[in-house]
């Protein structure tokens, strides 16, 4: 940085304190315990675990742990439904059930949003304005495909569903990931056994209650609760025809090994280390907003997060200065407060991991900057953090941190930006900021990743396919391409 004195900064919010703007939670209803949801009924469990609110560390409810027998019952129920009512139902009737689910999500949207925030720690602003609307939209979008599948697979006479789907989802977007898995599976005529993440099973259980109200035939969608062992049992079950997993690359590889040598079809949506590439001809202020959205949205618990910032060298100081300024206005705290930008870290375990990797970044000699703010005394929180002076070989430039931590690097030419962006085993998403369209689309074409956001970041839509290159997995979710792996074709 040069020595020109900086103008005095005045921050939005400097002159007054924010009042709290709490979203009420007294109207939400949930039970003290949920076992599993099999064949249209909630069933008891022998073993249990607690799910806590990461913002308060209070226990919300306890959930069952499914062993082999329970998983087997769920898969059998799904098989019966596939061979019975669901498989023989007219596609147009199937469509109406899925539309019905989408509509009912919308009716209960606020309750789902509040529960999602309580169970997972994400700001209510995000669960209310992003997660739940997208859940409803996803069911609404795929519902319409159910009786139009012959148009989705040109040249295939009579596309058939694959059968029973075993699905395992993560804790960062609990109900949205459920929707991404369940909606296309049902539209194609499959049945489902899904395992929610062990830190965020609550909204899946509320979704099960919704399915009962919707009158979906028994066994079409089943939920088994539990941790990794339950997931492993499910994906290894011999009567599961297709496995879909979203989660870490490490676990994805284990699942790929589990299904090796079997006829089970597999799609994986795994980790990422996305780059946000900012060229000197970009609209800088817009890029700053995109950088902030890219890494601090959902506390950085986003597989496609823009966790590496690649800035053209000539504008590095300006971008970092503006970014620090913008970060200082972020409000970290109670996820149920409508003003909150950055909520609670999902679990103590995840907080430990973020803390550890940030320690590694400091030990490796990178320059750290964290915003100066008070954090709640209870609950799991982490200050939005950026590292400058990072090189591609640093661990914080290679490993997925899955938290509000950004690593800043520089480049001089578009080719160097592409090389650095691609220098990772992952390939999920990247952002490009430039006002020059020809350059932007040239770079977009050279990036090894499944989603490229040009002059925007972290946009999602049910009509838009999402998924990875390389070790970020294979298969797509969203749009017509999202049907490919739920149908048989050749």
């Amino acid at each position: 940085m040069n020595d020109i004195p900086k103008p005095r900064e005045q921050l939005f919010g400097d002159l007054w304190e924010y009042s709290t703007a709490p979203q009420g939670s007294e109207f939400v209803q949930y039970r003290d315990e949920y076992g599993h949801f099999i064949d249209g009924e909630f069933v008891d469990s022998e073993e249990w675990f607690d799910s806590t609110n990461p913002a308060t560390e209070e226990t919300l409810a306890r959930f069952g742990v499914a062993g082999e027998e329970t998983v087997d019952e769920a898969v059998s129920a799904a098989r019966r439904a596939f061979e019975g009512p669901w498989g023989s139902m007219a596609a147009s009737e199937r469509a109406k059930y899925i539309f019905r689910i989408g509509r009912m999500i919308k009716e209960k949207a606020r309750e789902f949003a509040v529960l999602e925030t309580m169970d997972g720690g994400k700001p209510i602003r995000e669960s209310r304005d992003v997660d739940i609307p997208l859940v409803a939209a996803h069911f609404f979008h795929y519902a319409g495909w159910a009786d139009k599948l012959e148009y989705a697979f040109p040249g295939v006479d009579d596309p058939e569903p694959v059968g029973v789907c075993g699905q395992v989802i993560p804790w960062n977007f609990p109900l949205l990931m459920l929707a991404w898995k369940v909606a296309p599976a049902l539209a194609c005529g499959n049945t489902v056994v899904l395992k929610p993440a062990e830190t965020t099973p609550l909204t899946a259980m509320k979704f099960a209650e919704l399915l009962q109200e919707a009158g979906l035939p028994d066994g079409v969608v089943n939920f088994v609760n539990g941790a990794g062992d339950t997931g492993s049992t499910l994906v290894g079950h011999p009567d599961v025809d297709k496995v879909a997993f979203t989660g870490s690359t490490e676990v994805g590889k284990i699942i790929q090994k589990t299904v090796a040598g079997t006829d089970t079809k597999l799609t994986l949506e795994l980790g990422g280390k996305g780059s946000n590439i900012v060229f000197e001809d970009a609209a800088i202020d817009q890029a700053i907003e995109g950088i902030v959205d890219g890494i601090f949205f959902n506390q950085g618990h986003v597989c496609c997060a823009g966790s590496r910032l690649l800035v053209e060298e000539s504008i590095h100081d300006e971008v970092v200065s503006k970014l620090r300024h913008r970060m200082s206005t972020l409000r970290v705290g109670d996820p149920l407060d409508k003003n909150t930008d950055v909520g609670a870290i999902n679990s103590e375990q995840q907080l430990d991991k973020i803390t550890r990797l940030v320690g590694v970044g400091q030990d490796e000699g990178c320059d750290i900057h964290q915003i100066d703010c008070d954090l709640p005394e209870t609950g799991y929180y982490f200050r939005p953090t950026i590292f400058t002076g990072v090189t591609p070989s640093h661990r914080i430039a290679q490993e997925e941190i899955f938290g509000p931590v950004l690593s800043v690097m520089t480049f001089r030419t578009p080719s160097e930006a592409v090389e650095k962006a691609n220098n990772t085993p992952y390939g999920l998403a990247c952002g490009i900021w430039s006002d020059k369209g020809s350059k932007l689309f040239d770079v977009a074409g050279r990036l090894d990743c499944g989603v490229v956001w040009g002059n925007t970041y972290n946009q999602f839509d049910p009509a838009s396919p999402f998924g990875g290159y390389k070790e970020s997995g294979f298969g797509r979710e969203g749009g017509r391409q999202g049907l490919l792996d739920y149908m048989k074709h050749s």
Partner: protein, 292 residues
Amino acid sequence: MASTSDRLSVYKTYKLYMDGGFPRTESGRHLKIQDDQGQFVANICHASRKDLRDAVVAAREALDGWSGRTAFNRGQILHRMAEMLEGRRADFIDMLTEQAGYDENDAVAEVNCAVDRLIWYAGWTDKFEQVFGSTNPVASKHFNFTLPEPTGVVTIFTPRNAPLLGFVSTVLPVILSGNTTIAVVDNPAPQVAMEFAEVLNNSDLPGGVINILTGVREELLVHAGGHKDIDGILSVGPDSEERETLGLEGADSVKRVEFLEGHDDWTSDEAQSPYRILPFVEFKTNWHPVGR
């Protein structure tokens, strides 16, 4: 082998096809090929792990150039392959009848179908993107579109039957999207694929796009599965052990591992499909705001 009067025929030395050239296997090993009567046909190369690794380097180097060609140009090159094969139909019919135990009708059918299939896939290069890609009507002010891109370097364990048509039917849908390949050939008449390499080499196909290794399939499985610079594997007609080996080894780099049962009759229409392009493409979705 057919011979006239007392003229001594010339044996042909078959080598590997790699990076647009015909090197011997670095291992110096050979396999003896006989016809269905037990008569000597040729000594072919018994490719090693090192040959596989060399072929991967060639395929990787060729990737940017090949995938960077226009789809139209790739189509022209595939069509050129068909032209070259058409001109050598008689050679391949002779090879199949004299060395691979085919009767005349079956040999003619296989060669004709191979030419026609090359033409069919040549036409797909600039169409599959329109058929399987999309513009997406997102509910926001964004232009959103999805395109298939090649996965990268793909190893193909080619069919154990139909030495010409099986090869063409499995390699073409993989390379037409811009992938580069290492085709492993282990069948009763592997010299047919090496003969076909000469067709490829005369077709403006850049070196390294299709590399061909003859040898023992089981020996190369584990090395291909575990090679981190191979992005995908197509295994045609695998047994259960092969499926497990490739699945386990491939998982360490989240490889795209695709199994194809194969066909008794590769001339069947079912042996060609644009859906055979899809296992080795990656869909990329682009977003851009629309506004003033």
